[in-house]
Amino acid sequence: MSRILALLLLVSPFLTATASEQSSCSANKGAFLTGTVTSAPKFASGSSIDGVETSHTHVNLKADQDGKTYDVAMDNVYAVDYVKNAKAVPNSLKAITVGSRLEVCGEKYTSGVGIHWVHSNCGAVPTATAPNGWVKQLSSSGSVGANLERSQTYCYLWN
C-alpha cells in the first residue's frame, strides 16, 4: 500500500502537469498528443511566400493516447532560430531526438495519421482549424519545456 502511495506521489506532479497542458490545449482549440519520438527530424521544402520558404520539419511520434504513430509537421518559420530560406532543420528542432518525449498541440490531419499547425497562431482567436498550438519537449522528470514553435517573426506573411 505504501509503495502504491509513494508511486502516486511520484507521478502525481507529472499527471497534474499533463492535465493542465491538455486543458490549455483544449482552450486553444487544439488536439493534444504526448508521446515518444520514433524518427529523427527530417526537412521538407515548402512553397515560397514573399521570398520566404515555408519549409517544415517532420518527426514521427508514437502517441500515448491511442498508440498510433503520428507524422508531426512543424513549420520551420516558427522556430526562434529559423534562418530565412535555409535548407536545414533549425537547431532548436534538430535537438528533438529519437526516444525523447514530446507534447504537441495542433490540428490532426483530416487524411492520414498526423498533426500539423503545432505552432503559435500569431495572436489570432484560436479555432479548431487554426489552433494556438505548440511543440514542447518533456523531460524525464515530467517538466514541460518552452514552445519550440513560438517565433512571431514571420507572422506578417499571413497578417
Partner: protein, 291 residues
C-alpha cells in the same frame, strides 16, 4: 479629325492619366486592428498546402518545378543578372574597394552565394526533395567557379563596411551570418573573444536597423531576447520588440490581441509596460525613418 493626330492624342491621354495618378494625393493605409478571421483564413489555406502529410500530391507540388532562386547565406534571394559570381564581382569590386557602399554590399551579396555551397545536405522526407536541393547546390557551386576561399572570407569585410555605413539590410545580414560568417554553436563557444565581439556588434547593428524602422531587424531583436543566447532573456523586450516590428510593418492590434500574441509569460503590469515600450520604439523609429 486628322487621322494622323489620333495616335499622338492617345499617347498624350495615357501620359495625362499616369501623371494624374501620381499627382493625385493618396491616403496612407490606416492602421486598424487586423480582422482575425481574415488572417486565420489565409494562414489556414497556406499552412494546409505546405504541411500536408508526407507523400500527398500537394506536398510534391509545393516544391517549385522551375529553377529555384539563388539564395545567399543570409537567406536573401540574389539576382546575378545572368552572370557568374566572378563576372558580377569583377564589375563592382573596383568601386567597392574605393568605398562605394552599394557596390560593397552587392559584392558581399554575390560572394555570400558561395559561402553555403558545401553545407551538408539535410535529411529530407522525400528523396526528390533532397535531389532538388543537391541540384540547386551544384548550380550555385558552378556559378562560384573562380571565386577563391579568400574572396568568400573577404565578403564579411564588405558586409561590415556596408553595415557601418548604415545600410539596414547589411546590418540585418551581419546578424544572420553569425560569427565570422560561419555556423557557430553560440552556447558552446560563448567565451570565444570573436563570438563575444560578434554578439555585441550584431545586437548593435540590429538596434541601429530597428531605429530605421526596419521591421525585420525589430522582430529579430524580439527573437534574440527570447532565445537568450546573445543577450539575457527578457520576456518584456520580446513583447516590446515584437509589437514594434509589427507596427513598423503597418500592423496594429488591440492591447488584448498584442497580449495574446506576445504576453504569455508576463503579468498584467509587465505586459502593459511592454505594450507602451513597443509603441514608443515603433513611433520613435518610424517617425524619424527616411521615407
Amino acid at each position: 479629325m486628322d487621322q494622323r493626330l489620333s495616335p499622338w492624342l492617345i499617347v498624350a491621354g495615357a501620359l495625362a492619366c499616369v501623371a494624374a495618378y501620381y499627382l493625385w494625393p493618396h491616403d496612407e493605409p490606416a492602421a486598424v486592428p487586423v480582422p482575425e478571421h481574415t488572417a486565420v483564413a489565409a494562414a489556414s489555406v497556406l499552412s494546409r498546402l505546405a504541411a500536408m502529410p508526407v507523400g500527398a500530391s500537394t506536398a510534391s507540388a509545393a516544391v517549385t518545378a522551375s529553377e529555384p532562386p539563388l539564395i545567399g547565406r543570409n537567406g536573401r534571394i540574389v539576382d546575378l543578372g545572368g552572370l557568374s559570381v566572378a563576372q558580377y564581382v569583377a564589375q563592382r569590386e573596383g568601386a567597392a574597394r574605393l568605398g562605394n557602399i552599394k557596390a560593397a554590399y552587392e559584392v558581399y551579396q554575390a560572394e555570400s552565394l558561395c559561402a553555403n555551397t558545401d553545407e551538408p545536405l539535410p535529411e529530407t522526407t522525400e528523396n526528390a526533395d533532397r535531389e532538388q536541393i543537391a541540384r540547386a547546390q551544384a548550380r550555385q557551386r558552378a556559378l562560384c567557379t573562380n571565386i577563391s576561399p579568400s574572396q568568400v572570407q573577404e565578403r564579411m569585410r564588405y558586409l561590415k563596411l556596408a553595415a557601418d555605413a548604415g545600410n539596414a539590410d547589411a546590418q540585418v545580414d551581419y546578424f544572420m551570418e553569425g560569427p565570422g560568417g560561419k555556423p557557430v554553436d553560440l552556447a558552446a563557444n560563448a567565451d570565444e573573444p570573436a563570438v563575444k565581439q560578434w554578439k555585441q556588434d550584431a545586437i548593435g547593428y540590429l538596434r541601429t536597423a530597428g531605429a530605421q524602422c526596419n521591421g525585420y531587424a525589430l522582430s529579430l531583436l524580439s527573437n534574440a531576447y527570447d532565445m537568450g543566447s546573445m543577450v539575457e532573456r527578457d520576456p518584456g523586450l520580446v513583447m516590446a520588440y515584437g509589437i514594434a516590428a509589427a507596427r513598423a510593418r503597418g500592423g496594429d492590434k488591440t492591447p488584448e490581441q498584442w497580449k495574446r500574441q506576445f504576453g504569455e509569460d508576463l503579468n498584467e503590469a509587465d505586459a502593459a509596460a511592454a505594450l507602451t515600450l513597443g509603441a514608443q520604439l515603433a513611433d520613435g523609429a518610424c517617425r524619424s525613418a527616411p521615407k
